[in-house]
Symmetry: C2
Amino acid sequence: MEKHIVVLPGDGIGPEVTKAAKGVLETVAEQFGHRFTFETHEIGGAAIDNQGTPLPEDTISACKKADGILLGAVGGPKWDSLPGHMRPEKGLLGIRKQLGLFANLRPVKGFKPLLHASPLKPEVVEGSDLLIVRELTGGLYFGEPSERRNNGKEVVDTLAYSRYEMERIVDKAFQSAQVRRNHLTSVDKANVLESSRMWREVVEEKKQDYPDVNVEHMLVDAAAMKLVTNPGYFDVIVTENMFGDILSDEASVLTGSLGMLPSASIRQDGLGLYEPVHGSAPDIAGEDKANPLATILSAAMMLRHSFNMNEEADEIEAAVHSVLNNKYHTADLDINGGSQVSGSEMAKKISEQM
Amino acid sequence: MEKHIVVLPGDGIGPEVTKAAKGVLETVAEQFGHRFTFETHEIGGAAIDNQGTPLPEDTISACKKADGILLGAVGGPKWDSLPGHMRPEKGLLGIRKQLGLFANLRPVKGFKPLLHASPLKPEVVEGSDLLIVRELTGGLYFGEPSERRNNGKEVVDTLAYSRYEMERIVDKAFQSAQVRRNHLTSVDKANVLESSRMWREVVEEKKQDYPDVNVEHMLVDAAAMKLVTNPGYFDVIVTENMFGDILSDEASVLTGSLGMLPSASIRQDGLGLYEPVHGSAPDIAGEDKANPLATILSAAMMLRHSFNMNEEADEIEAAVHSVLNNKYHTADLDINGGSQVSGSEMAKKISEQM
Ligand SMILES: CC(C)[C@H](C(=O)O)[C@@H](O)C(=O)O
Ligand SMILES: CC(C)[C@H](C(=O)O)[C@@H](O)C(=O)O
C-alpha cells in the first residue's frame, strides 16, 4: 500500500524522536512491501520562531491531505511568556479542532522490566492495562463565551457539547471495548453538571447497540481515586475533554514509564495525529538522550488505526517488548543489569529486532 | 467559652460517627472548662425521607445561628434515582452556597502505623503532609446557564468566577501556607482557560502581600501526575472548585487511610462546616463498625478554625496518634499485631487518652 505521512517534529526533543520513528516506519515499509512517503512541517514554538504563528496555513493544508500525521512535541520555556494566541499549545489545540480529531486514545500498559519504576506497589500496578478514550474537540477547552466581563471583575468559560459530539465519542469507546476486554467505564459528574447528565443519557442509549459490552458509570472524583488504588480494575474509560485531560495524565504515571506511552487523536474516517504522551524536554534536546519508544509506539498506533495494518503494528510492539526484555534502555529508564543506549541506538535496535 | 454546635448526622454511618465526635467534644469541654451546646438537624437522604427536601429551611436557619457545624455524611443508593434537585448531594451543595462556605480545607497526612495500606511505595508516600485549599462555592458547579438547548440537542454548563471570589480563596491559601511550610502551589489550566489566566493574575498580585511564601503555578494535568509520583513535594495546593474536587479525592487515597481524613468548609468570619472525607457507607451503617476518627479529627478542625482553640485541637490529634500507636484500630484499618475495636470503643479510647 501507499501512504503519505506528514511529520511535525515540533520543539525540544521532537525532531529526534520523530526521526527515530520515521526510521522504524521505513523498516516496516521495506519488510511488508509498502511505500510510505514523508513530508515535514512546522508546528508550535518552531513555527512561531520561523513563521510567526504556532500553526501555519501550509501545515494545516498538508495535514488535511495526509493519510497519517506524526507529531513530536510542542512547547518550552522559551515561548511561555507569549500571549495566549501565540503559545505553542495553540498549535496543538488548533490542529485537533481544524482536522476534527475528536477521539483521543491513550493506552496505559506496564512493561514488566520497567514496572519497578512505578510509584505504586507492584501488587497494585501489576497487570494493569487500560485505555482512556478522551473527547478532544469539545467541552470547556473550546466553548464560547470564554471571556472577561464587567470591566475585568468577572470571567466565564463555557462547557458546551452537542449530543452528536457525545454520541460519536461514546460509539468509539464502545467499539474500543469490543476489541479489548468488553468493559467500559463512563466517567462524568452527573450529580452536579447538566452536561454530565446528558452524557450519561447518551451512554445509556448507546449501550443498546453494544450488548456484549459491560458498561458502568463512575463519578470523576471516584475515578481519580480508583486509578490509584486499583488501576487493574479498568479496561476502557470514556470521558469528556477536561476530565480526560486530568485522568489520562494521572494514569500516565502509574506504570512508571511515562517515556513509553503513545497516543492517537483520530476522527471518523481514520485520519489521525499520533504523538508521544511525554513533553518536549528542552533540557535534553539535541543530546541523543531522548527515549524514542513512545513515538515509535505512536507510529505503531498510526499503522493500526489509520492504515489498518495490524500485523505491522504488532511487529513494532513485539520488537519494543523484545528490546526491553533484552535489557536495553535509554537514560530515562532503569533496568536491573541492563545496558544504556542512546536514542538513535535504541531506534536501530528496534529496526534490527523486526 | 460557650459555643453552640449544630450536628447534621445525615445518612448511613453519619449518625454513628457524629455521635462519637460529639462525645469527644464533650470530653474537651469538661477538661478545658468550656460549655458546648448541641442541636441536631436533618440533611440529605434523611431529610428527603422525613421532610421531602434534602435541605430543610430549619436546618439552614439553625446553621446560620451556630458557631460550628458538624456533618456526618449524605447520600446512598436509596436516593440515587431521584431527580437532580431532590438528590441528597443537593443538600450539601445548597448548605455550602447558602452559608457562603467558600474555602474547603482538606489536609492529607499519613499515619505511620497505617502507611502500609497505601497503594504507593513507602519511599514515595513517606513524610507527605499536604493541604488542599479548594474553592467551594463558585466555578462550574454553580455557574449559570446550566441547561439543555436547541431542543435537547445541545447542553452548556458555565464556569464563572468573580475576581473577588478568587482573591478571598487565594488569601486563605497564602495564610494557610504561612502557618505550615510556606510553600504554595497554585493549580490551574492557564494554557487553555480564560478563568485560569485570571486566577494566575490574582495569585501573582496577592503574592506581594505574602513575601514569606514561596509560590508557584502548576497545570492541573501536571499536578494530577505529581500527586502520585511525589506527594511529599507539596505543602499547600490552592485551586478552583472542580480541579479541587478531583485533586483532593485523588490525594485522599495516597496515604492508605481514607477513613482518617477530615475536612473543613469555612468562610471569612470563621463559621465552618466540618465533615469526614469518606462517604455514608450504607452497607455497614448501624453495625458500630464505622471508623469515627475522620469525624473526630473534623471536630478538632472545628476547634482550631472556628473556635480558635488550638490547644484543644492539638489534644484530640495527639490522642488519635497515641491510640493508633497503641495499635487499636477499627475494621476498615489494619495494624500489624493490633487489636480491632468497634466504632464506639474507638471513640471511648480517644476520650480516655485525652
Ligand atoms: C497542551 C494542552 C492544551 C493539552 C490539553 O490539555 O489538551 C495537553 O495537556 C494534552 O493533554 O494534550
Ligand atoms: C457530592 C458532591 C456534590 C461533592 C462535590 O463534588 O463537591 C463531593 O464530591 C465533595 O467533594 O464534597
